[in-house]
Structure formats: structure tokens, C-alpha cells
Amino acid sequence: MSATETGNAVPVRSEARRGLTGIGPILVILAVFLAAIAVRQPEFYDPPSLLAFLKRAAPLVILAAGQYFVIVAGDFDLSVGSLVTAEVVIAARLIDGDPALTWPVIAVMAGFGLMVGLVNGLITTMLRVPSFITTLGMYLILVGAVYTWTGGSPRGALSEEFRMLGRRGIEGVPYLQQLPYAVLVLAGVAVFAITLMRADFGKVLLAIGDNPRAAALSGARVARARTVAFVLSGLFAAIAAVLLGGFGGVSFQVGAGLEFTAITAVMLGGVVLGGGAGSVTGAMLGALTLEILFTLLNLLGVSGALKSAVQGLIIIAAVAVGNIRRRS
């Protein structure tokens, strides 16, 4: 499935074009959706409600950025959804309503995310297990372990201080009313991700996704870069978990299906599964577009049951359009 495994090499592109490949279509789709919302619900563009939207979208955008590192190097991370669930459930049990434990537990969550990512990365690169299998196995392990640990039902409670990060913001900001913390976190993560991709690390990652053997021959430390990509995905999942737990509270459902949503978002953003092409900005825009789509479906009153069908159609159409463009 990954480029490293299939050898179905993605056509090599010049450095300059790589950064922008695929962003075109997602911008068009995003613009169309935004226009549709403007027609249906102009109030959406009031700064407070726009920020509230960004606050809701932040976790998925962050997850998509994490998933991007893994995908662009030619791998997959199917474990992020269960990692988010595990993190939130762990946080609730450890904090158990005690505000003093908020920050220590957030540090534990970050550490846990890093560790899961590291294990994923090492198994994939050192033991040469395809990442689809590694992370599928990790998904089963995390779900099973967290249920076993809690006896099948979340225990404890998140503190208000913990929930603030995903739920509240800086009050009384002129014009905006409230500046959600989640938006600040999102901005930080986005800057960090974009900087990383502009640095040598990003170039190495793209080269590996393009053609791992060529990258290795030209001196890239392939295994290390791929492992770092998984570690980043784990860390970003931990950050998303802090925001999601804050936004919605504790449940076993909190991360369910997020891995597929994040991968879809990345692909919508013009990133090629198999690696080597696409930008992290595209991936994050893809996530934003998906969230806008979900909102739009609500605003249009599309029946709940039909939603997955519409989602399936849009995904296929968007990726097909991206491909047609790339080929012509």
C-alpha cells in the first residue's frame, strides 16, 4: 500500500511545484462550500460564530496535520482514533476532577502520544511491518487495553481547567468577543507543521515518500524520518485529544472513526496516498473543508441518514477531480 512497499513510484516533481500540488482543487471546493454557507446562513461569518466553528474544527485539522507527515512519507496511521479515545479516558481517570492534576496529566498525555507514535514507527521501520498492519494492530491494542483498564466504562472526571482548553477562550477580545484557546493551539500547531515541512526534515520526508531507495542512496536517514513522522502523528493526536476531551467531555466514542476522517481529509487536501506529493497546508485545508461540509449538511437540513452517502460521493468526486487535474 505504501510507496515503500509497492514500488509504484509516484512521478517525481520539481521542488517548486511540490509545495503547491493539489492545493488548487481544495481551495476551489472550499470556496464553493463557503459560498453555499454564505447563501444559506450569512450569520456564519460573524466573527464569534466563525471562531466557534474553528474551535470545533481544530481537533480534526490537527489530526490531519499529524496524519499528513505519516502519509507523505508513504505510510498510514490507523491508530489515531483509538489513541484519542485512550488519551481522553486516561486523562479522566487520572485527573478525577482534581484541578491541580490538569497540567501534569496533559504532560502524561503528550508523553503517551509520543510513545505510541514511537512504537508504531519502530515496528514499521525496524521490523518492516507495513504501517497499515502496525497501526491496525495498535488500534486493536489501544481499544482493548483502555477498556480493560477502565473495566469497560470511563471512570473519573475531567477538571474544568482541563476542559477550558477545548471549550473556552480569552474573553472580551474586541470585535471577536471570545478568542478560543483551541484556535490559538491550532495556529501554533499549524505554524509548527508548516515550518517543519519547510525545513530539511520536510524535504527528506517528501523524498522518502517519492522514492525511499533513492532517498536512502542520497544519504537520507529513511527509518529515522519515518519514525519521527509517526511520533509527530502520535503527539498531534494527543493535542487533538486534549481539545476534544475539553470540547465534548469523556466518552468511549470520542475518537471513533477519526482515523478514517483524518485520512480522508488529508487526501481531500490533494495529498497522494503512497506519499511523495502534497502539502501540509493542503491537508489542513482538507480537514477544514470536511468540517465545513458537515456544517453545511446540517444547515441544509440533509437528513442524518443520508449524510454518509453524500460524504462518500464528495470524497470520491474530490479525489477524482484532483487526479484528473494532476494527469492533464
Binding site: 488548487g24 482543487p25 476551489v28 471546493i29 464553493v32 462550500f33 453555499a36 446562513q41 450569520e43 456564519f44 460564530s49 466557534a52 470545533r56 481537533p59 479522566a92 477502565t150 473495566g151 469497560g152 466504562s153 470511563p154 471512570r155 473519573g156 472526571a157 471549550r167 476534544l244 470540547f247 465534548g248 467531555g249 469523556v250 466518552s251 468511549f252 466514542q253 470520542v254 471513533a256 472513526g257 458537515f294 456544517t295 453545511l296 449538511l297 446540517n298 444547515l299 441544509l300 437540513g301 440533509v302 437528513s303 442524518g304 441518514a305 443520508l306 449524510k307 453524500v310 460521493l313 464528495i314 468526486a317 474530490a318 477524482a320 477531480v321 484532483g322 484528473i324 487535474r325 492533464s328
Partner: protein, 394 residues
């Protein structure tokens, strides 16, 4: 050229999407189709006679000890079980659909504790089907090979276990609970009044508390789950009759973050929502928080008997109600099995009461020492191992 292809396809997709949006709006523009608005077609699961029976059962006084609702029965018709009489000790078997959600977790703990109360049960063998119909059928075959004296079945889906249960009936007395099967061969079928009563309790309360013509948002977990379909079917009947405006029917997958996003979108779309109806309480707190975060008062809402909702209700003085699908029903099959093996008569079907939590009795169900997703109506407070085994603090 390239861009225009992209545009064409995107526009096509969006047009299609808008079309999909329009088609589901039909009931709104054509109110004669159903008296209320936006509720759509009635579920295929709706059976008027069952609905009427459940609505009536809510008023029936149960027979049996009032401090032990899990031993009570509504309008019991007793059946003779002399032919199953057998000397102890017993080997009880249980084919469980799964323990994949907190409701089933609490219930299963109730059942295990009930088993522990009876020394005459020597062995209690459980097979967990992990929500897989096919596995549950194999599980039943498995269990029958283990020399069970009686088999308790909690089916994963209504109807699909019928052939397997028929097979089992030929060998041992079978007790079915929670969901039913399409066969009369089981000695008894145990469940509370049912989904129609649950859905109606919430919907009736909301229609009384909200202003006439107000907007109600219905939040459901998943489509296609039999026990949840009846809840919505009943609520739909009541909403249609009372003329409230059903602003939307949405599926949340039981995910609090998704729930909050949906509710926020609806608040934005309609300016405000006047009531929230839910087919299960798991995300009631998230729905209520969406109003808080939007700086609006929390409207009348129904949840379920989970601690997080009850606590919020008490702290924030919500206008709320909590119909329940009590987890104490997990104790009853064990009691029934022992009565059957002892040759005593049992009610068949065994309809359990289905209490509702209101402002009047809220305080007796709030248990701050229990986990947030613990179900208060568990009938478990006097059981051995409480509260630690249920995740609570003593």
C-alpha cells in the same frame, strides 16, 4: 481547461448535495403529508398496537415487592415450569450480545453480582458475542455443548437469533431478555415496558414544557437499531400530534463532540432551539453544553439515568426528565432461571416497570461517588461489591 474540469465536477457535486438537501425538506414544504413538520416517514418498526399497549402499561401498578422493581411484573401471566424442575447445584449459561457500551457494562455487572448472591449456582458461563450476530449464534451452539441447566440470551439484534434460540429451546429452558426473538419457544421474555414508552415519556414532557409551535431538535444515536427505532417512532407520534416544529432529526453516533457541533449548527441555523429530545442519554450533557457555550439558556431536555446528566440537571436546575431503560433488568433473568429450575411459576412475558426520573425524585438518584456514565437505575446499591465493582468510590 484544467480548472474548468475541476469546477464542473465540484459544481456537480454541490448541486447534487443541494438536491439531497431539498429532497429531505419535502415534509416541511408539504405539511399535509404529516401533521408535524420535518419528522419524515414513520419507521417500519412502528406497530400501533404495541405502541398503544406500552403507553397503557405505563399506568399499570406492578405486582411484586415495591423495593425490588427487578422482581416486579406488570400484568403478569404466569406459566407453569414444573417440567424444568431440577435439583441444584446449577450451571447457568449466558449468551451476551456484548459489553460495548456503558449501559451493557453496568447491566452485566448487575447480573454477575446477582449470580454471586445465589450459592446454588455452581457455574456461570458467559459467551460474549462482541456485537456480532454470527458470533452469537456460534456462541449459543458452544454453550449448549457445555451442559448448561438453563440458558439466558441477550440478543444482539431483534429477530436474527430466532433459529439459534429455537435450537437451544429443544435442549434447555431458555430465558430471553432486553431484545426479543421471533419465537415463543423461550420460557419467558423479560424486558421493561419498552422503547415506545421511553420515547413518549420524553416527548410528552417536552411538548408540555416548550412553547406551542416551538422548535425541537431530535438527537438519535444510530439509525437501524431496533430498540432505538421504537423510541423515535413514539416521539414522532407525539410531536406530530402536538404540532411542535421538529427542526431536525440528527444522528450523533453517541459522540459528544459531534453532538455539540450539531446542536451548535442548529442554534445558529434557527436562532434558537426550544427543546432537545434524545433517544438515549449518552450525549445529553454535550447537547446542553452547546447552549451554554452559545450563551443561551438550556431549554427543556430529556436525558437518561446517567450520572453526568443527573448531576448537571441538579447543579444547573435544568427543566429536564430522564426516562430510563433500567439496567436492573439484568438481575431478573438470573432470578427467573432459578425459579424455572425450581419449578416455580414465572411471568411470561415478564414486563418490568420502567421508572422515570423527574424533578421530584432526582435527588435520590444523584450519586456523586459513581462514574459519570454510570446508570442510576441499576438496582445495584445493595449488591455485593457495590460501589467498587461499578467503578465507584465508597
Amino acid at each position: 481547461m484544467k480548472i474548468s474540469t475541476a469546477f464542473a465536477a465540484t459544481i456537480a457535486a454541490v448541486t447534487l448535495l443541494t438536491a439531497a438537501g431539498c429532497s429531505s425538506d419535502i415534509p416541511q414544504t408539504n405539511p399535509s403529508a404529516s401533521k408535524g413538520a420535518g419528522t419524515g416517514e414513520q419507521s417500519k418498526f412502528f406497530v400501533q398496537a404495541d405502541y398503544d399497549r406500552e403507553i397503557a402499561l405505563r399506568k399499570v401498578t406492578p405486582t411484586g415487592p415495591s423495593d425490588k422493581p427487578w422482581e416486579q411484573a406488570l400484568d403478569p401471566k404466569l406459566v407453569d415450569t414444573a417440567k424444568y424442575k431440577k435439583a441444584g447445584p446449577y450451571h447457568l449459561c449466558f449468551s451476551n450480545a456484548g459489553v460495548g457500551n456503558p449501559w451493557r457494562q453496568v447491566g452485566f455487572k448487575n447480573m454477575q453480582a446477582e449470580v454471586a448472591l445465589h450459592p446454588e449456582i455452581k457455574t456461570f458461563t458467559v459467551a460474549d458475542a462482541e456485537s456480532k450476530d454470527d458470533k452469537q449464534i456460534s456462541d449459543i451452539t458452544d454453550l449448549l455443548g457445555k451442559g448448561c441447566d438453563a440458558l439466558i440470551v441477550s440478543p444482539n439484534t431483534t429477530a436474527t437469533l430466532t433459529p439459534a434460540v429455537e435450537q437451544a429451546c429443544a435442549k434447555v429452558p431458555v430465558i430471553v431478555f432486553d431484545r426479543g426473538v421471533n419465537t415463543q419457544c423461550a420460557v419467558t421474555f423479560i424486558n421493561p415496558i419498552g422503547g415506545y414508552a421511553f420515547g413518549a415519556d420524553g416527548a410528552e414532557f417536552l411538548t408540555q414544557k416548550m412553547k406551542s409551535g416551538g422548535k425541537v431538535l431530535a438527537l438519535r444515536i444510530l439509525p437501524g437499531v431496533d430498540v432505538l427505532e421504537t423510541r423515535w417512532a413514539a416521539a414522532k407520534v407525539i410531536f406530530d400530534k402536538s404540532g411542535v416544529d421538529v427542526a431536525g432529526v440528527e444522528f450523533t453516533d453517541g459522540d459528544p463532540a459531534k453532538t455539540k457541533s450539531i446542536v451548535t449548527n442548529y442554534i445558529q441555523r434557527f436562532g434558537n432551539i426550544d427543546a432537545i429530545w434524545m433517544d438515549a442519554g449518552a450525549t445529553a450533557v454535550a447537547a446542553a453544553e452547546a447552549f451554554e457555550d452559545a450563551g443561551k439558556p438550556i431549554p427543556p431536555i430529556n436525558g437518561e439515568d446517567q450520572q453526568d446528566f443527573l448531576k448537571m440537571w441538579q447543579d444547573k436546575k435544568l427543566t429536564a426528565i430522564a426516562p430510563t431503560y433500567p439496567t436492573f433488568q439484568w438481575r431478573t433473568p438470573v432470578i427467573a432461571a432459578l425459579r424455572i429450575l425450581g419449578g416455580q411459576q414465572v411471568a411470561s412475558p415478564w414486563k418490568l416497570p420502567q421508572p422515570t426520573i423527574t424533578d421530584a425524585n432526582l435527588s435520590q438518584y444523584v450519586q456523586p461517588n459513581m462514574p459519570p456514565l454510570h446508570y442510576a437505575m441499576c438496582g445495584c446499591t445493595m449488591l455485593p461489591g457495590y460501589p467498587a465493582n461499578w467503578g465507584g468510590k465508597s
